[in-house]
């Protein structure tokens, strides 16, 4: 958008200051930061509960909601919220095992995407709107958009803070948690609704099609680096933040979409961690082999 207008300098602080003189960049950084925090936390539970595909699907459900909202002339985020929440509640009420049924979920998500397509075609001249829902438009976030993001995130953070241990327990050891009297349906419903809200606000940054990069990839990196849930949540937030911040920073100078950079950075971190772990596993195996091959001294 602004590529070429402002030259890049190696003084990154000055660069950031320059960027933040633009209101849309300030908004992008603010909303991006808030959303990264929420996505990092919720993402951890997505991994622990194995709900990655449900997350992906809810993004698609949100697409038709957003498209419908634009069609009737309201803010797309309300359509997103309405549709993702309904979808999330449906999945939760069908039970956790139902939420893991790939084929049923896939069938519904394809239908929802098709529905979204219909809404787009009904609304004349709205390709850019559809494009930004699909791929995110972080530079288009308004002041009120930032406020809304902050409010929605605050609710998500407070609720997740309250149910943190119960949700972790219910996710890791379902049958024991149930026997201990945990309200499994209510906990599942709560989580899915939080996920719906998180997806709805994250769509502004990354779009429904790329939701994985913020909601799943950072947490997938985190669980490979630490076994402690609290640390994993922190690492997950950190990865999401790095991807968003560096992505925003780079796109300011390069004229490609921010979403592309955010997704690429998250992906690069994931690949680097996987490669690093494979390498160290290989080294351990080699060392063990060398030990075995060494003739016994005594």
């Amino acid at each position: 958008m602004t590529g070429g207008v402002v030259p890049f300098s190696w003084n990154l602080i000055t660069d950031l200051r320059t960027m933040w003189e633009f209101g849309f960049m300030r908004n992008a950084f603010e909303a991006g930061t808030i959303i990264s925090i929420v996505a990092g936390i919720i993402g951890y539970f997505v991994i622990v509960r194995r709900s990655a595909f449900a997350t992906h699907a809810l993004g698609h459900v949100g697409f038709s909601g957003a498209a419908a909202a634009v069609l009737v002339g309201v803010n797309p985020v309300y359509g997103l919220l309405l549709f993702t929440s309904s979808g999330a509640a449906g999945m939760a009420l069908l039970g956790r095992r139902a939420a893991n049924r790939d084929i049923e979920i896939g069938t519904v998500l394809a239908f929802m995407l098709g529905l979204g397509l219909l809404f787009i075609s009904l609304y004349k001249g709205f390709a850019t709107e559809a494009y930004s829902i699909l791929f995110g438009e972080i530079l288009g976030i308004s002041d009120s958009g930032v406020i809304f993001t902050l409010e929605a995130s605050a609710v998500v953070l407070v609720v997740i803070g309250l149910v943190y241990r119960r949700l972790l327990f219910a996710s890791l050891d379902e049958d024991v948690a149930e026997a201990k009297g945990m309200p499994m349906l209510a906990l599942g419903l709560t989580f899915m609704l939080l996920l719906a809200v998180a997806i709805s606000i994250a769509v502004q940054v990354i779009g429904v099609l790329l939701i994985f990069a913020l909601m799943v990839t950072p947490a997938a990196v985190a669980v490979r680096l630490t076994k402690r849930p609290l640390y994993a949540v922190l690492v997950s937030i950190l990865v999401a933040l790095v991807a968003t911040w560096v992505g925003l920073f780079v796109q300011f100078y390069a004229q490609y979409p921010a979403s592309f950079f955010i997704v690429s950075i998250a992906f690069a971190i994931y690949v680097a961690v996987r490669a690093g772990q494979s390498l160290s596993a290989l080294r351990v195996r080699r060392a063990a082999q060398a030990m075995r091959n060494q003739p016994a001294v005594d």
């Binding site: 327990f169 049958d175 201990k180 669980v223 402690r228």
Partner: protein
């Protein structure tokens, strides 16, 4: 084992913890077993034995308050069972954990005491201490920092046992903890459990399809088969006469020179031959 060691005279055990009279159990239109009367006393080590699908897990679901009896009466600690009884520690047969679970074992054990609490729980010291103590009690402290996904079947069962134990329950319900273990690991785990029963007087019910790894330390057997339930000392229940009556077909109980028993004739086609 000598008979004196396994005497079941009432003086050795405390008050009744579980009491059932003419209990009928089932789902909607299917009776699983009926007219069962049994009791479990404090400090007893009880095996729940029977072929697959006989309703062994169903007994646990009743005791945990996850399912209601269709008829008869059942009390646990003197009152009807209710869900969320903190005096019961439970290890289910099914777990959500697999080798993709990158979570420290200690975290799971800690959740055994804190998993029902509200809030994020940032002050973790008492929880951590309780978790370490529970892992110590099952001889698995060194597993605490390991990822659940990297543990072997036997190691996992110890961690689950610690998770059940961490809240200092008075009764343990262990559903098929031995099912995926070889004979040596089964005996090791049984030793750990038996040690807990003796040192903590924690009443323990253990579901198993093979009684042999357990037989030397049991106080009581609850044998469920063919919709019937027989209960008593292993000597009383594990006889040809008693099991033939239970199954409703002729069954023979054979003993080998090392006190192992083989039950012939009563098994369902899927069960092991020595169940």
């Amino acid at each position: 084992m000598n008979e004196v060691h396994r005497r079941s005279s009432d003086d050795r055990f405390g008050p009744e913890i579980v009491h059932a009279e003419h209990l009928d159990v089932g789902y909607r239109d299917k009776v699983v077993w009926q007219d069962a009367s049994l009791d479990v006393r404090r400090g007893e080590f009880v095996a729940v034995i029977g072929p697959n699908g006989a309703g062994k897990t169903t007994l646990f679901r009743l005791l945990l308050g996850l399912q209601r009896p269709m008829g008869g009466s059942l009390t646990v600690f003197g009152s009807p069972p209710k869900r969320g009884n903190s005096r019961i520690g439970y290890v289910p047969q099914r777990h959500t954990i697999d080798n993709e679970t990158h979570v420290a074992a200690e975290t799971l054990v800690r959740l055994g005491v804190s998993g029902t609490k509200w809030g994020p729980g940032f002050s973790l010291r008492p929880e951590r201490e309780a978790a370490t103590a529970a892992l110590e009690a099952v001889g698995a402290v060194e597993l605490g920092s390991k990822s659940l996904g990297s543990l072997s079947g036997g190691e996992l069962q110890r961690v689950f046992l610690a998770e059940a134990l961490v809240g200092n329950p008075e009764m343990l319900l262990l559903d098929e903890p031995l099912s995926s273990l070889d004979l040596r690991r089964s005996r090791e785990l049984v030793e750990v459990i038996h040690g807990l029963v003796q040192s903590r007087h924690v009443t323990t019910l253990l579901v198993a399809h093979d009684i042999n790894p357990l037989i030397q330390c049991l106080d009581k057997v609850i044998y469920i088969a063919n919709g019937n339930v027989a209960t008593g000392t292993p000597e009383a229940v594990l006889t040809s006469a008693s099991l033939s009556e239970l199954y409703g077909v002729p069954v023979e109980v054979l003993h080998d020179s090392r006190h192992n028993i083989v039950i012939v004739g009563g098994e369902d086609p899927h069960g092991g031959e020595n169940g």
